[in-house]
Amino acid sequence: MTEASLIGLFVATVSFGALLYLAALGELLAEKAGVLNLGVEGMMAVGAVTAFIAGVELKNPWAALLVAMLSSAILASVHGFFTVGLGAEQVVSGLSLTILGLGLAAYLGKDYVGLPPGAELVPVEWAGLSDLPWVGPIFFSQAPIVYLALLMGITVSFVLSSTRLGLALRAAGESASSTDSAGHSVLGLRLSAVAAGGALAGASGAYLTLSITPQWAEGLTAGRGWIAVALVIFGAWRPGRVGIGALIFGGTLALKTRLQTFGVDFSPIILSMLPYVLTLVILLVISIQARKRPSPAPFGLGLAYRREER
């Protein structure tokens, strides 16, 4: 195991971590407002393909990122319409959204399979910092989306904990009827949280096709949307902890392809079970603790709100 390969592992850990973090932050926003969205995998796929297409057509990576975020936000709003607007079952609608998103992504991208990328988000160079040993390549030579993910994490954390909007949003997820009584629009809050969550999942997908693997192929998201869903629980619905979880889970993704180069005789397939198994363990720990203190899950998560039924 050389120093270069170890640095490579950490670089990939941070990069995969950011990928997962963006999608998980989106899911966290929606869940905090009381809406479980199991469509992350589909939203990521749509974000990935629309970013790639926009990149080829517009030749501008930032425009491509914007297109991806917008497309996934619109897709997420389908879930919002059915679950928040009509009060349909969130689990069924979310899974349907995954099917829809994967289908749409394949349909839209069929003429773009194997094409060279039209635009890429290249790593940012930070004067002086990027040349530092270890921390330079690991933290200061990443694609701009990585810093965006960090910025989004701080923003989401701040908005949720310290603004009136964040308070209203959390209230909509804890007790919709009292939020309604307080004069806030539960409908508006939940719809915006779901759409914003979609935009973040779209950014995560865009990171795949604009930087990590700059090409389009069906199945590119490879189940990472489900890891994002797991991360929210792993991080106990807290943006900071979700970020730490994203680095851990990102590490397992990064390690998976490198086990052999490190000469470790361990199945990469077994390793890739780790995020899910860890999440299960954390869930158990949370629920054992919940006997002494309240569960960190939003109280109204998964419950539709209709004024006349409160």
Partner: protein
């Protein structure tokens, strides 16, 4: 200003659910027409091919039925849990666990007579699915851990378990280093009934009938439905909730596992990582469209199977498989929406301010 609002109907619309499915199909048909025209195809030609390939003749029916069998069993698994208000999102993984268990029996019983081998494989499949559901069942019953997430996570674990087996310990030495499990012994194949329709149809039908009767007409099923509609009522009437949760979730997993076993002996010739083929997720949809009623699952599974088979068939006409995926999603969303409207009606709210304004206008 008048705002639209959903108001609960006193009675759900009669025939609301078939109506919902029909609406879903109609919406999918419209969207599909647009997609097909956009891609330069003739929609009518495509739709008639879809119908012919799925329901046009006995051979087509056989293919559709073979698809409806795992869909129906997976749907039943979800519906049994759903009758008690539980969500088994893990049917996908339990199908794989069932298939793993059945494939394991086939490995050790390669020289057993067919009927013994198949029976043992199916029993093992029940066990495999049940064991994968046991963890979430215990966690829910004893600690109150939400079963949606635990079962969802185990899907991802189960698929990797299959991958690991066929890349490693169970890799066929004669497969020229391809990650393939060995072929099943010949006598491990379910017999066919007509055309290519296999014996799984009878197994699925029997299990669906038994489960429907059990949920609808037995004291056990009655308690189950009470627990599903009101936890408090169930507790006051002395029903042991945690025992019920445990048995129902394990049973649900076992039924999904059986789907994996039947799929393995019925249509697959070896254990593959695509053995569950999305049936577990589709099963959730099937169960939801059947309003979590075990008795409704068979019809929905057959229709949904026809949609899937029809969708696959048009690939030979050069239509991308993604179109059929999108159509399925629109059937689902159309049905979800129509399902809501069969229970709710839209009323236009007149809010207080605008009422005042209208009054003062007079």
């Amino acid at each position: 200003m008048r705002r639209p609002r959903l108001s609960l109907r006193e009675q759900p619309l009669p025939g609301g659910q078939p109506l919902a499915f029909g609406t879903g199909l109609l919406i999918a048909l419209i969207v599909g027409t647009v997609l097909l025209l956009a891609a330069g195809h003739e929609p009518l030609k495509i739709y008639s091919r879809m119908f012919e390939a799925s329901l046009g003749d006995p051979d087509a029916w056989a293919v559709t039925i073979n698809r409806a069998v795992p869909l129906g069993l997976a749907g039943l698994a979800v519906a049994v849990a759903g009758s008690m208000g539980l969500w088994n999102i893990g049917a996908e993984g339990q199908i794989m666990a069932g298939a793993i268990a059945a494939a394991w029996v086939a490995r050790i019983g390669g020289d057993w007579p067919g009927i013994v081998l198949i029976t043992m494989m199916l029993i093992a499949a029940l066990g495999g699915g049940g064991i994968l559901a046991l963890g979430p069942a215990l966690a829910r019953a004893k600690l109150g851990v939400n079963e949606i997430i635990t079962t969802l996570m185990l899907n991802e674990v189960a698929i990797r378990l299959v991958q690991w087996l066929i890349h490693g310990p169970w890799k066929d030495p004669d497969s020229y280093n391809f990650p393939l499990a060995p072929m099943l012994p010949d006598q491990a194949r379910l017999p066919t009934l007509f055309s290519r329709a296999h014996f799984g149809l009878l197994i699925a039908a029997a299990v669906i009938v038994i489960a429907s009767v059990a949920v609808r007409y037995t004291a056990w099923g009655y308690e189950l439905r009470i627990a599903g509609s009101s936890e408090a009522t169930a507790r006051y009437s002395g029903i042991s909730l945690s025992k019920k949760v445990l048995t129902v979730l394990v049973l649900s997993g076992a039924i999904a596992g059986l789907a994996g076993g039947v799929e393995l002996t019925g249509t697959a010739d070896r254990l593959t990582e695509t053995i569950s083929n999305g049936f577990g997720f589709a099963g959730i949809i099937v169960a939801a469209l059947a309003l979590m009623r075990p008795s409704g699952v068979a019809v929905v599974a057959l229709l949904f199977g026809a949609v899937q088979i029809g969708g696959q068939s048009i690939q030979t006409l050069g239509v991308s498989s993604s179109v059929s995926t999108i159509l399925q999603a629109f059937v689902l969303f159309g049905a979800i929406g129509a399902g809501v409207f069969s229970r709710y009606r839209v009323v236009l709210d007149t809010d207080a301010r605008s009422t005042n304004r209208e009054l003062s206008d007079d």
